[in-house]
Symmetry: C2
Subunit: 688 residues, 2 copies
């Protein structure tokens, strides 16, 4: 009952949000002039400025607690770092004279919930900034907006006069980080929590156990992490520190322990949990594997009762994710005792057996004060309605769940490991497609969405660049009004956010030059490699897995790992070409720069060849570099034709057809993203 | 007596080092082909390679302890990070099959001393690497050499077959970091310790108290840090952690508490220590100030006895630095009681009074098992001969001390805050000039040298770039044979080290783009600003202080703070010009690139102007950008003349004279480093 009430309260909160974010209230023309992401629901921009002062004084005029004070100091520290100005950060002697006034209505809950109000009002005039919110969470969100408003000007650093009323569209705005396929240490999680806070995300979904690793210290069952992790796990102290760190930033930490499948690593230390005799080893490869828990033995539930009890105390969040996805039936079907159990209990399918397992787990969770979350597969009408479904399948699955009364979140369309563009993710909306026709009450059950950073092809060096900056666009989809859909403006702001996120400590930009240097095989010699890497993107979807057998021990040090999931350089070049081809003034402005680029690419291949002679990692992409040079050469011919008015030779474009064809497969697992814009130049020349 | 014995032992060690580093033993032609810094004393290069294996197995065939095992794992972890290869790092089941064999002779001392042998022998053949050393310190040094030998090749990652016998020339190879003028947090110290270890430095001289801040927690006198630090101090726990961290890397931590001058911050909490009544405030400006301890009151020594007792326990190193520099006589001369004391004790000068103070302190130090270190000014014939003199004055002062029997180290010539070139520091040798004529026994008293990173114009964002990479050249001066003097080869290797040091965590390269972005006033728009900043260097010596009144609150966010102390880009351009002017083949090869550069610089001013319109920080350097454009324009004219054979107009060079004159002063505190190479082009054209 408690949980269903929670959903009802959440429903009311959603109505409140909807009022605040009604499109009529938002001052659209001014929004675009501010570089904010996610865009606030409502902005009124003034004409003046509030100058940053060396004395950064603050005052709490309402509720106040240490978390809020830490947040204000953290915001001021980051402003000092970004501007390079050594601010004197202190509580104002006279609160009415404070540079930043914080007016918080009341204390937050000891453990953050989705019912807490995250709205805030930020008013900046020439004399001060005033941030008001009913709850500390709103203050945290508003402090991030304040930081994003910071601008350099001809006279120094300042904030624009502005009046912002803001609240999130969705209550659940999450990021899943898989720390099992590859180990992701605590400091990497922390810096990503800072970046998440910067774009107002509020859930870290921590995928903590898998076939490939069990990543949490269990004092009750020490062989879980002791034998299932290669020594790469979080101590309980580290877990608590990360939960505190996240709470300080208004982020809930929801743990996931995937069961009954995806659980090989459990069985290394406790083979008796499995549905077939051991011994088991940590799985090094990727996919769906046979080892599955045995739901027919009482000992299994006794173990899970002990384990969940321990974890329920370690993780304060009322939500507990049990995975439940991709149960491979093999072991269940091969086991005579499991078959007998199914027959005895009238279970026809493995789904029935999994539903039985889930019901048993749900009872354990409930006893521990937890509400169950799981992937689509757990959905079963026998489950209590406080179960939350995370849909990797899509809005249709989510809508079906909502119609049955289950709350849910959308992850389909937000799998950021698949390297799709920010625009592709931005276009996905939890309340569109099949969910659009739900009743308002059913819609309120759709709590939001969550991006998934699966870790087969990432490691601590690359994970940040696979999350950021694309995640900021997804965060905007989760936070901003549904009508926020201007893709060009999203990209304009995303590029700014990309740089700004550096200040959170996220290493999405920092790691790039060192990875390029490694490819070059020579210290400091990254220019030629960067010229190539800037214009390629890793293959999308599951194509990289198709081209070779990856495992935990495969080095992730190739150009496909260094290349940005979405290249800003490509976007800029494509835009330049479009401009050149679409209007005359841009033609003369852009063609020189385009010719310069094409000439540089053509010449670059010699440098790449020279470096590749001494670098195995670079030698792999020689065909790619050669193709870029050939494309640049074709582009130059076409450009020359456009400029001179001399037509191209008969059949020229047909001759080059292979060059302009997108590759179906590539052993180097990269796509050359300038094929399309250069093809446009060629086609324009041909048309003349 | 104990301390004099130590000196004698050290003398023997020095003789041992001298044998190892005799120039006859070193295989000069092969050294240059390896990118090592500091250069080892003796290298014999083989012809084959040892390939890095995914299983990085190690074995200790001699003495073994946890410090050594941590060091091996740290080295292997860094190799994994640099190569991007997920190494399986583990002790070998069969030691004879280990990839890396470590043969250490014996345990190190519980507290590191200069008598410990740092020599090592590293032998790499096609099957394994073997590292031998009499003492763990040698193993630590050899592991750094091993990492520097790592190279990428056409077939993957490998180490060259090599036989290295190495030992340091000097026992004391230090870096002073001033954490008082600007606060430098613990994590910044730690990453710089890693970088220090990478170039085999062995002393962190921690300048912990000053007029501008008292940076250590004192439990006995809590008002020292409580009122003297703005809350910016190291807890004793942090101090201990840093000492442990340094010890793991073979680095001693020698604390300095400057007395009786440079001590205003002490008096904020304890004004009774001063020679004039308080109250006192933390000094915000820089220079030599009046507040000075009162050496005539017994209470002063009682306090210092308590304080030194506490710090002697906190810092295990047997050396204790008392500063003793720049005592400003004002307070002593104004105080009737101090004047009376001097008369009563027959002291004629303030130097006599300081000598009395030092003798009293020396007794306290001795009681606590510490040996006194101080700056030149402490030198007085009454002091015990185990006192160590750190010379900011030069070799003459050091030689005079040695003749009196005092050990000493050289810091004159190694003040890296003054922004001199690596070559300038590299040319300074503790045993040259006046020290060259000392007897061998006196020379043995010269323990080495120490670079000084004074902190008036640095902060945590910039300190790394003011230390690195130049410090690596100084480290080579301290470690490598005296004959290692090839400046061109030093720069070749220094540029490689500059990139390699990124892997230690030092941020000398990382901070640069973000500082440029701040100057640009626009996220992501650093290209134009970098083009300018890459070719300027901050003013040398004390010129920056001449041009404005700096204090602790002055922002260090200008181009003078972002610009590299020594620009590799400038060196490359100057070399290109020299090549063009000196020989015909280089002329045709280089002139196109030089023309391209000059054209780019000329055009860049427009971009800078556009950005500067919205950035106060960039507007400051508009005249600099304009001057670069004018120089580039003149260079293009001269180049055109050289290429065409058309002479320059009469009086052209005279007309441009002002342009080619080095600026005496510049409000932006920067020098344009391309003036000289462009002037060379102009003069060559004029000569035709």
């Amino acid at each position: 009952m408690m949980h269903r009430n929670r959903v009802r309260c959440a429903l009311l909160a959603a109505v409140f949000c909807a009022v605040l974010s009604a499109p009529g209230l938002s001052a659209a023309p001014t929004q675009a002039s501010l570089d904010l992401m996610p865009l606030p629901a409502n902005i009124v921009l003034g004409t003046g400025w509030l100058a940053l002062k060396p004395e950064f004084s603050f005052a709490f005029t309402g509720y106040k607690d240490p978390r809020l004070e830490r947040a204000v100091r953290r915001a001021a520290d980051r402003i000092a770092a970004r501007t390079g100005i050594p601010l004197a950060i202190a509580a104002a002697a006279d609160p009415s004279q404070a540079f930043l006034q914080i007016d918080c209505g009341a204390a937050g809950l000891p453990v953050q919930t989705f019912e807490e109000d995250e709205s805030y009002v930020l008013t900046i005039d020439a004399s001060r900034a005033v941030l008001r919110a009913p709850n500390p969470l709103g203050i945290l969100r508003g402090l991030e907006t304040l930081q994003q408003l910071l601008a350099l000007g001809p006279d120094g650093v300042h904030f624009p006069e502005v009046d912002i009323k803001d609240a999130p569209r969705f209550r659940w705005r999450g990021l899943l980080i898989d720390v099992c396929r590859h180990w992701i240490p605590a400091e990497v999680i922390k810096r990503n929590l800072d970046a998440m806070a910067a774009v107002k995300l509020n859930v870290l979904h921590w995928h903590l156990s898998e076939d490939q690793g069990f990543r949490v210290e269990s004092k009750k069952y020490p062989r879980l992490h002791g034998m299932g992790s290669d020594g790469l796990y979080y101590t309980q102290e580290e877990i608590r520190a990360i939960i505190d760190y996240a709470r300080d930033r208004g982020i809930r930490v929801i743990p996931e322990f995937d069961m009954p499948g995806h659980s090989t690593a459990w069985f290394v230390g406790y083979p008796e949990l499995a549905s077939a005799p051991g011994p088991y080893e940590i799985e090094r490869h990727y996919g769906v594997f046979k080892p599955t828990m045995d739901p027919t033995r009482e000992e299994t539930f006794k173990f899970l009762d002990g384990f969940i009890g321990e974890m329920a105390r370690l993780f304060p969040d009322p939500l507990f994710h049990i995975g439940g996805d991709e149960v491979e039936g093999h072991q269940w079907e091969e086991s005579p005792s499991i078959k007998a159990f199914k027959t005895a209990h009238g279970m026809k399918t493995n789904e029935d057996l999994q539903a039985y397992f889930n019901k048993r787990i749900q009872v354990i969770l409930k006893k521990n004060g937890k509400r169950m979350v799981g992937w689509d597969e757990i959905l079963h009408e026998d489950l209590p309605r406080d179960t939350v479904v995370q849909s990797w399948r899509g809005q249709e699955s989510l809508a079906r769940a909502a119609k049955q009364g289950f709350a849910g979140i959308l992850s389909n369309g937000y799998y950021i490991d698949l390297m799709y563009s920010a625009a592709a993710h931005y276009a996905v909306d939890p309340l569109e497609k099949e969910a659009a026709s739900l009743s308002e009450a059913e819609k309120a059950l759709i709590l939001g969405g969550e991006a998934c950073m699966w870790a087969e092809l990432i490691n601590p060096e690359t994970v940040d660049s696979r999350i950021w900056p694309r995640m900021a666009a997804i965060a905007e989809r989760f936070w901003s009004p549904q009508e926020t859909k201007d893709v060009a403006d999203m990209y304009r702001r995303l590029e700014i956010m990309n740089s700004r996120l550096d200040w959170t400590g996220a290493t999405h930009n920092l790691s790039y030059p060192k990875m390029l240097e490694r490819l070059a095989g020579k210290e400091g010699a990254i220019e030629a490699v960067k010229l190539l890497a800037d214009f390629v993107e890793p293959l999308r979807g599951y194509s990289r897995h198709d081209s070779r057998e990856y495992s935990q021990t495969t080095p992730l040090n190739r150009m496909a790992d260094a290349a940005r999931p979405e290249s800003f350089a490509v976007r800029a070049f494509a835009g330049m070409v479009d401009g050149m081809l679409s209007d005359a003034p841009a033609f003369s402005r852009n063609r020189r720069e385009i010719r310069h680029r094409l000439m540089t690419w053509k010449a670059n291949h010699e440098s790449i060849k020279a470096l590749a002679a001494n670098s195995a990692l670079l030698a792999e992409v020689l065909p790619l570099s050669e193709r870029l040079a050939a494309l640049a050469d074709a582009g130059l011919t076409a450009l020359q034709s456009l400029e001179s008015g001399q037509p191209l030779p008969n059949g020229w474009l047909e001759e080059k057809a292979a060059l302009f064809q997108a590759l179906e497969k590539a052993p180097y697992e990269l796509e050359l993203m300038v094929v399309e814009p250069i093809r446009k130049i060629a086609e324009a020349a041909q048309k003349r």
